[in-house]
Amino acid sequence: MFRYLPLVLKNSWRNKRRTVLTVVSIGISMCLLGVMIAMFHAFYLSNPSPEQALRLVTRNRVSFTVFIPLSYRDQIEHVPGVRAVTVANWFGGVYKDDRDPKNNFARYAVEPEKLFRIFAEYRMPEDQQKAFQRDRTACVVGRDLANQFHFQVGDRINVTGSIFPGDYEFTIRGIFDSPRNTEIMYFNTEYMEQSLPEARRGNVIMYYILIDDPSHSARIAKAIDAIFANSTAQTKTETAHAFGVAFLALLGNIKMFLIGISAAVMFTVLLVSANTMAMSARERVREVGILKTLGFTPGSILGMILGEATAISIAGGTIGYLISTLLLRLVVKSPFGGYMPPMPIFQVPVALACIFTAAAIGVMSSLVPAMGASRIPIVDALRSTD
């Protein structure tokens, strides 16, 4: 079969402009598909990163907009398999002007001495971690956030509370790095607690929990929820990965969105490729007749045309995949990237899925013209004038 490979390649290059246009067109469409596949893979098929697999999130069963008591922390800490628990209060609040979306970065009130233990992937110098624990009004910011606002260690940030009322002034004591988007700020929950009026203290939005072994996550989550099953504030505990997916699902039906767009893209690619192959097969009817007189069997002609289409669409698919890695980098670095499961830029299963899809589309798109060419009687083919 590979005997005909040079001929197939030569044929696909005979109308250079058409081939280039087709490859570019397929490539651009396939780059979308590549991103969709990568996201689908990360959301629904992939395993969470080792650090993330060790993290659980506990929140109110109703919604994370309803509080759970601070007293739950001690009870959670005593569940077998739990290594550390920190309060993680989504602070909300207003920094400068909240009409500028840039100013709405994530702000969490946490327990400084536990944060870097539970988020093992965060890297920050030892002395900065110490300073963060020592100073009650300290905060730490992610590298991305620091770059965006040109924050430096020692700077002060003023935030007005919304969910937790009050005016707060924080001092930046550290800047941390993480493989994911880090437009995040963390500060000491003690500072917030003590600034609140008496009646509003002791409320927690969620707890981050570090467990001993990923395989215990289901058991530990069940055990935690069982403790509070008969209280007024029932809890829901899930892995950080599942929590992230659930959070994004609030934006809409992500699965339907991904599948719908992927289907539209695939069908478009199919049409583009089919159109090109139909055009090129039509031009070559007489040539096919000559090949047949030379002794090429209908089977080999079928194979040659299918091969040509596949070569073109694989080229498009490969280019598309390469562009998709660039797009994916943008997605990961976007503000939403922080909520998404980690998405490595190069992934073998995603690349294979992308190129295989392109090849399959190539074969499908050329089936009709290829069958036509392989079946046409020699005399009719030779007689045809284009």
């Binding site: 246009l21 067109s25 609030l250």
Partner: protein, 387 residues
């Protein structure tokens, strides 16, 4: 003189396979764009119906949503007697003090359960909402653990029918009625008696928000200004319309992602259209030569091929509209800024369809530009000899 329009039309018909395939490719691109626009438009119209131009919403200073706001009973006593507030049937000012929370309604399985907004409100609150009316059953009675549910909820969940019980706060609540908000977001809410709900949440004195009806739009504006200036009251007042406009921002991420996708697909489709038009030019080299011999100018050849590309893509645009049409009225829901769901329907309007067709024509014309230029620049003699 320009080449007759029928020439382009016939050419498209003669090469019908290529025409249909290219047009379908464009149609899919347009359909994706239309789906996104219809989604955002549906949400927008639902939210704009929800708002009454005479309503002024009062939250705690610094709060953006009812859910995080705290509004005190004492503030309400002051608010009620501000000038410019309309008077209700019972002679009392049309002012309502409301408490908002969230409940979880379990669907058939765990993944289909849904977060809903629960609102506790007095009788005046129902009277004020002119777009809301009861469709089945009756309203909840004061002092009873009873609720009425919005129509979107009753339509979606078997567990939210009259006579059944829902669970939130400290116990079960009986559903006694279903109300409709004529397409507004209130149809996605659960309503109960203010006192019952707020005492269940232990928030009798610190509820979520206040809502008043102004006598007229001018009075509404004046009320907003005077409430915001009132240092002693310490509240944030806004027109209900502005509040709901703000909520539309929850569709922003989907809108921007969708637009990016549509634009990338459009670039791909315009290359495909370019391919088709190059083939059309190549196959008709001799025809182009003949036209030139007959005295048609370079300009008219250029515009003729551009027209053909535009025609092809307009056809694709119309096909795309047809593909997107069935989406109209399909119900969906989206998380709002209070992290509960607002149900709404895709809304495909003529305006959106026009946008789709224009979008198609633009991408087709971009694709047709270079082939048309090539056609117009052909030398007459070589063109006649070709093919």
């Amino acid at each position: 003189m320009s080449i007759p329009f029928a020439y382009n039309l016939r050419n498209l018909v003669v090469r019908k396979t290529t025409t249909i395939m290219t047009a379908l490719g464009i149609a899919l691109t347009v359909a994706v764009l239309l789906a996104i626009l219809a989604l955002v438009n549906g949400l927008r119209s639902t939210l704009s119906i929800s708002a009454d131009p005479l309503h002024v919403l009062v939250l705690r200073k610094g709060s953006d949503s009812e859910l995080v706001s705290v509004f005190l009973r004492s503030q309400f006593q002051d608010l009620k007697f501000k000038p410019g507030i309309a008077v209700g049937r019972d002679g009392q000012p049309l002012a309502s003090m409301e408490v908002v929370t969230i409940m979880i309604l379990d669907g058939a399985d765990d993944s289909s359960s849904s977060n809903l907004t629960v609102r506790g409100l007095p009788a005046a609150g129902i009277e004020m909402r002119r777009n809301v009316h009861l469709v089945r059953g009756r309203w909840f009675r004061e002092g009873q653990r009873e609720v009425a549910v919005g129509k979107s909820i009753a339509d979606r969940f078997d567990s939210a029918q009259i006579g059944k019980k829902v669970h939130f706060g400290r116990g079960d609540w009986e559903i006694v009625g279903v109300f409709d908000a004529s397409g507004g977001a209130q149809s996605s809410e659960v309503w109960g008696d203010l006192f019952q709900v707020s005492s269940d949440l232990q928030r009798v004195d610190a509820v979520s928000s206040g809502l008043v009806t102004a006598t007229d739009p001018v009075a509404a504006q004046a009320l907003v200004a005077s409430l915001n200036d009132d240092q002693r009251l310490g509240v944030k007042a806004m027109l209900e319309k502005d509040y709901y406009d703000q909520q539309t921002s929850s569709a922003k991420p989907i809108e921007s992602v969708g637009l990016i996708v549509a634009i990338i697909m459009a670039i791909g489709s315009s290359f495909a259209a370019m391919n088709t038009m190059y083939a059309a030019v190549a196959r008709r080299a001799r025809e182009i030569g003949t036209l030139r011999v007959l005295g048609f100018s370079k300009g008219s050849i250029l515009s003729s091929f551009m027209l053909e590309a535009a025609l092809l893509s307009a056809f694709g645009g119309v096909l795309g509209c047809l593909l997107a049409m069935p989406l109209n009225g399909v119900a969906t829901s989206i998380g709002n800024s209070t992290f509960s769901e607002t149900a709404f329907a895709f809304h495909v309007t003529p305006q959106i369809m026009l946008t789709g067709v224009i979008f198609a024509v633009v991408l087709g014309s971009v694709g047709g530009l270079f082939p048309a230029r090539m056609a117009s620049r052909k030398q007459i003699l070589t063109a006649l000899r070709e093919g």
